[in-house]
Symmetry: C2
Subunit: 255 residues, 2 copies
């Protein structure tokens, strides 16, 4: 690990490498305190409520003082994403399948707890200690099961995407996001019913009629989640078996 100087400043601070300043007044803030404030606002009012001014106000400092810790609002968002993530569950002695189940569920849970993450996170690759630790734990466990390299990264991304998808669905259904539709989630079903004609959209019309879009209570949502996750894990299990059979520590073959 080289010198920290040429790292993007926020990234450095996210990793706890705050510059040891010698002269001048003591810094009155921490990146951590700033992100905490911003997260509190986002949780309460949604991402739209997060303004440089509102964050500063909550900390009783001027707007501009924040720019000593982040170089832009985008930086702040990046730091928020990492700070909002809890520590991932630790593998312990769990079998890979049990662990990944936990991992994915916990992933979904913290996304659902901070819905605004869904508006920011997906684009940018992880750069903070927390988000990278999530990735690491998944890779570690997959490594223990005999999968590595790009393959493992791919699987981790897919599981992560599944968590995002589940959290999105869940959030949309509970209508927490800005009351998206005219009258929330029930409004969405109603809207679809008005728009969709069975001629052009036979499958969709059937699904609507079967109530598949109805607001789902939590336990149903969770059954659906487990169900889809099982699909994924079954596939992974098959792959692991195949790898175990075909090779020792050999690399993956490619055309």
């Amino acid at each position: 690990m080289g010198s920290d100087d040429d790292l993007p400043t926020v990234v450095a601070r996210m990793w706890g490498r705050e510059p040891a300043s010698r002269r001048g007044p003591r810094p009155g803030l921490t990146l951590r305190r700033i992100t905490d404030a911003a997260i509190a606002i986002a949780d309460a009012e949604g991402l739209a409520g997060v303004r440089m001014s509102s964050v500063a106000a909550r900390l009783d400092v001027s707007t501009m003082s924040l720019y000593g810790y982040v170089t832009s609002k985008d930086d702040l968002l990046t730091a928020m994403v990492d700070a909002a993530a809890p520590d991932p569950p630790e593998p312990g002695t769990l079998a890979w399948r049990d662990y990944l189940t936990r991992w994915t569920r916990a992933h979904r849970d913290f996304l659902a707890a901070h819905p605004w993450l869904l508006e920011v996170s997906p684009l940018t690759p992880p750069v903070g200690p927390r988000t990278l630790r999530w990735l690491d734990r998944a890779l570690t466990v997959l490594g223990g099961a005999g999968l590595g390299g790009a393959e493992a990264v791919n699987i981790a991304s897919t599981l992560s995407a599944y968590a995002v998808s589940a959290a999105t669905l869940q959030t949309a259904m509970s209508g927490t996001v800005d009351e998206a539709g005219p009258e929330g989630p029930a409004g969405y079903t109603a809207l679809l019913a008005r728009l969709v004609d069975p001629g052009g959209y036979p499958g969709l019309a059937a699904a609507i009629e079967s109530g598949a879009f109805g607001a789902a209570p939590d336990w149903v949502e969770d059954a659906d989640f487990t169900f889809g996750l099982t699909l994924l894990l079954d596939g992974i299990e098959a792959l692991i078996a195949r790898r175990r059979r075909s090779a020792g520590p050999g690399a993956r073959r490619r055309p």
Copy 2:
């Protein structure tokens, strides 16, 4: 399908129900022409280049005239998402598995062709004729295979999420999005190498060393895509078999 009056205006127009105006000058624009212009800008300059003013300029009209067709910029974005989606592949006589393979691949492809979709789309549930047609075709095919209701919707979402995940990865790797890191995708690997210590992040460190994050040429990316998709489809296939065995047209049991 009821009267169109109380539909959100943009939604109505997305579905081709432009109001048949009787008096006054003919509208000089179409929602379609507006979204096309906006999409062209987004493709060329990224989502940030899409301003009400820039879109209007490209159409040689004043900024404010757009507000006759959309009630806000958010509306415009919603309409763009739908307009940017091509028609989904038609099932024809394909087996469900072949069709869903095509479907998912085509999904990923159009997302990758318009990377800005990844910044907008995931939040909002589909409301336009194109995006809903995508959903419909998946549901139709799944229905033919014996799956319906919430289960089928779930599977479709999962496949869609997988396409998003693949497109995101692909875009991040080719560094098309704003040159995200300091020096693009190679910069990301370098950054990770500098931050991650093998003690705290064993799995991640191993993956980095194995070059799993290296920029991947297209064909490798595609192999990875097919690979992950196979996992999913295997899971679905197992489910279909189970359903076929256990029941006729009966409903899904729940506690």
